[in-house]
């Protein structure tokens, strides 16, 4: 057995069924050994998409995603995907080829110091010098990537190490004395938290991506019921509770729901779980939750107190800590419910308007039709931009791991390859990528991948022929000076998809999106749906640097809608 075989065997021993990659000079030995193996390899059309697909695979399945590229440009093309996984704490293993060891440092052909380049965006990295270490390095990399606060690990394998014969294949471990994540909450802190939550009159829960990673969906809901608290989420926390549930306030933040943004500042006790209080979530910190005591549960101690001052820190895994907390509270749940009742009433009176019969289509109407075409088991991925915020704001997600979006890094081009990875991980679930025309064009070459491997991803593209998010900022804050945000000569996306052998339809009328998506998702067929949407429809926001209640734009309500009979007919009702 040689080094490359050891990589393949170790990956398979760790339960990996598929990797995403792209060959090149320094990984030819690996690919030669892959040729005879049972490990499935998806050949993407750009290395960045290998990383995004691996992340989509990880986030949909809860397993570790694996991507592989050659040295030099192959490795640097992975960087954006690795950074994305780092910011969103996704378990990812990135394997890169490296030039032969005796050339390292000589500026050899296709040599870059990828360990150095990725140091700030990986949890850890290894460069095996001896093929005998490969199984243990892979084993330990899986441990590091998928425990504690999850994240990417890079393994940089020099070419000759891939070819070196192993003496013995031993799936051991590399000692990591400095790595001991705390998973169980301190019991004294738990007791204090229970007391604070019971004393509070207006408790509020903010759940982030950490709750999804920890699988704490039942616990979050149970706890909210025990203390009668509403639950808002960050973008990364979407789906931790069914957003159709009375307890759910939807997403908080710059483009958050009115009920979440306008009520969080009234809380006297905020329970934040697995979130990092990013500027897009809190707005101006001085104006965020001015009267609240803050309890912060996070597996990463560095997140506690980083942005928001915390009264009670609890380091630990969300699911474990919440179970400890539930045990404390079960005997004596809260008997106060006036606060929650008022919030639920607020929610019911501010249901955002999604019904429109305008042409060009309003994005809200498109999201409504998407909502009507998916089930609670459909995996929705999004790209980054205005369409992402339309989806995050208006699309109710019912289960964890069913909403996969680029949160922290905000990577345009993430949505489509992530959907490919999600579909590969969960072939029995329908997968829908909601993308914009700008981001899709960055990764459209992956249409070849879904054709080649018959990966039936449904793509709903909200096409406004603009870089919509920047366009909105230019409209609201830069005096309508639309510098470089018009996409001008966009391709004919229908023809583009068809040239790859993928079905495509252009949609310009009300009701059609729902009809086409419902059929495609049900029939498990790949299709690109190019939906022409209104470019001058903007989503309410607080301005950057503004407080959470500073509103740019206006909220509109579904209760104000009086649709004509015709359009009601076309939509088929809800």
């Amino acid at each position: 057995m040689r080094g490359g075989d050891a990589i393949i065997k170790a990956l398979m021993d760790k339960g990996v069924d598929t990797i995403f990659g792209y060959p090149g000079g320094t990984v030819i030995p690996f690919y030669d050994m892959l040729y005879d193996s049972d490990l499935r390899h998806i050949l993407v059309r750009h290395e960045q998409c290998a990383a995004h697909a691996a992340e989509g695979y990880a986030r949909a399945s809860g397993k570790v995603g694996v991507c592989l590229a050659t040295s030099g440009p192959g490795a640097t093309n992975l960087v954006t995907g690795i950074a994305n996984a780092y910011m969103d704490s996704s378990p990812l293993i990135a394997i890169t080829g490296q030039v032969v060891s005796n050339l390292i440092g000589n500026d050899a052909f296709q040599e870059v110091d990828i360990m150095g380049i990725t140091m700030p965006i990986t949890k850890h990295s290894y460069q095996p010098k001896d093929a005998n270490d490969i199984p243990s390095i892979i084993n330990t990399s899986f441990e590091i990537a998928s425990t504690g606060r999850c994240g990417p690990v890079l393994i940089d394998v020099p070419k000759e190490v891939q070819e070196q014969e192993l003496d013995d294949y031993v799936l051991g471990t590399i000692p990591t004395p400095g790595y001991k994540p705390t998973v169980k909450g301190n019991s004294k802190q738990i007791a204090k938290a229970a007391k604070m939550l019971l004393e509070a009159d207006k408790p509020f829960i903010l759940a982030g991506g950490g709750t999804i990673l920890s699988g704490a969906n039942e616990e979050v809901k149970k706890l909210a019921e025990l203390i009668n608290a509403p639950i808002a989420t960050t973008l990364m926390g979407k789906g931790i509770v069914d957003e159709k549930d009375d307890l759910s306030m939807g997403m908080l933040g710059m483009h958050g729901k009115q009920v979440a943004n306008q009520n969080i500042n009234k809380t006297d006790c905020l329970l934040a779980i697995g979130c990092r209080f990013s500027d897009r979530t809190t707005g101006k910190l001085e104006e965020f939750i001015p009267n609240a005591k803050v309890i912060h549960i996070d597996i990463d101690p560095a997140e506690i107190g980083k942005n928001v001052a915390v009264d009670l820190p609890i380091v630990g895994d969300a699911k474990i800590v919440l179970n400890q907390l539930i045990k404390e509270l079960e005997a004596k749940p809260s008997d106060k419910n006036a606060w929650l009742k008022s919030i639920v009433e607020f929610k019911k009176s501010t249901i955002p308007r999604v019904s429109y019969d305008d042409i060009p289509l309003k994005p809200q109407q498109v999201i409504k039709e998407i909502a009507n075409s998916i089930t609670e088991d459909t995996i929705v991925t999004t790209d980054v931009g205005l369409h992402q915020m339309w989806a995050a704001h208006f699309l109710d997600i019912s289960k964890p791991r069913k909403f996969i979006s680029s949160g922290g890094l905000g990577t345009m081009g993430f949505g489509f390859p992530a959907a490919i990875g999600a579909k590969v991980a969960c072939p029995d679930d329908a997968v829908l990528a909601i993308v914009g025309d700008g981001g899709f064009l960055m990764v459209s070459q992956e249409l070849a991948t879904i054709k080649e491997y018959d990966i039936p991803v449904v793509i709903a593209m909200l096409n406004n022929r603009k870089l919509g998010m920047v366009y909105q900022w230019q409209n609201k804050m830069y005096n309508q000076r639309y510098s470089q945000t018009d996409m001008g000569s966009t391709p004919d996306f229908v023809k583009l998809a068809e040239s790859y052998g993928i079905n495509a339809v252009r949609v310009e009328e009300v009701g059609k999106t729902q009809e086409i998506l419902s059929k495609a998702l049900k029939d498990n067929e790949a299709i690109l749906v190019d939906i022409t949407v209104e470019k001058n429809e903007f989503i309410p926001m607080f301005p950057p640097g503004g407080g959470i209640n500073d509103l740019l734009g206006e909220y509109k309500y579904e209760s104000d809608v009086e649709l004509s009979k015709d359009s009601q007919h076309a939509e088929g009702g809800e």
Binding site: G116, I144, G178, D300, A302, K306
Partner: protein
């Protein structure tokens, strides 16, 4: 925010890339490093890395937490300034061209327990160890003679007694 000087003592895995990783983390998080010293420790395979940094308490807390996240960093201690023993090594080459310079310099060296390690026609080279303030004073006294070169290690440190 007050910017205080802190001595952070860490135990790290003794392998390539660790120094780069720690230094780049400090830099990224907005901490200025005054000095770093690295050497083997009492545990085989682990090195002790001591650095002196300036920054406010909140940033320091964040930096220590971030350092904990590095897999190669095993232990971190912000040494209590009241109980810290700091020592630094300094090599200094001084001109002896002026009349009587050499004898005066040797006199100062005696007082500061500096060791003369090389002498030639125009220069005298000494090594001196001690806490950084002591070295500062020694160098101040030598300045009028004309200092040709200084090489300082930066302080390494250890906690006093049972601390």
């Amino acid at each position: 925010m007050s910017e205080k000087s802190h001595v952070i003592s860490t135990l790290v895995e003794h392998k390539p890339g660790v120094l780069q990783n720690v230094a780049s983390l400090l830099n990224r998080r907005g901490f200025n490093i005054d000095s770093i010293t690295v050497g083997t420790s009492e545990v085989e395979g682990l090195a002790r890395m001591v650095f002196v940094v300036k920054g406010d308490e909140k940033v320091l807390e964040q930096v220590i937490k971030q350092l904990h996240k590095l897999v190669d960093v095993v232990k971190i201690k912000d040494l209590d300034p009241d109980y810290v023993l700091k020592r630094e090594l300094c090599l200094v080459k001084v001109k002896t061209t002026r009349e009587k310079s050499r004898s005066e310099i040797i006199e100062y060296a005696d007082i500061f327990k500096a060791k003369i390690i090389d002498v030639c026609d125009d220069f005298i080279t000494m090594e001196v160890t001690g806490n950084p303030e002591k070295i500062d004073s020694f160098l101040r006294l030598l300045k009028p003679f004309g200092i040709k070169k200084i090489a300082r290690t930066g302080p390494t440190a250890i906690a006093r007694g049972h601390h």
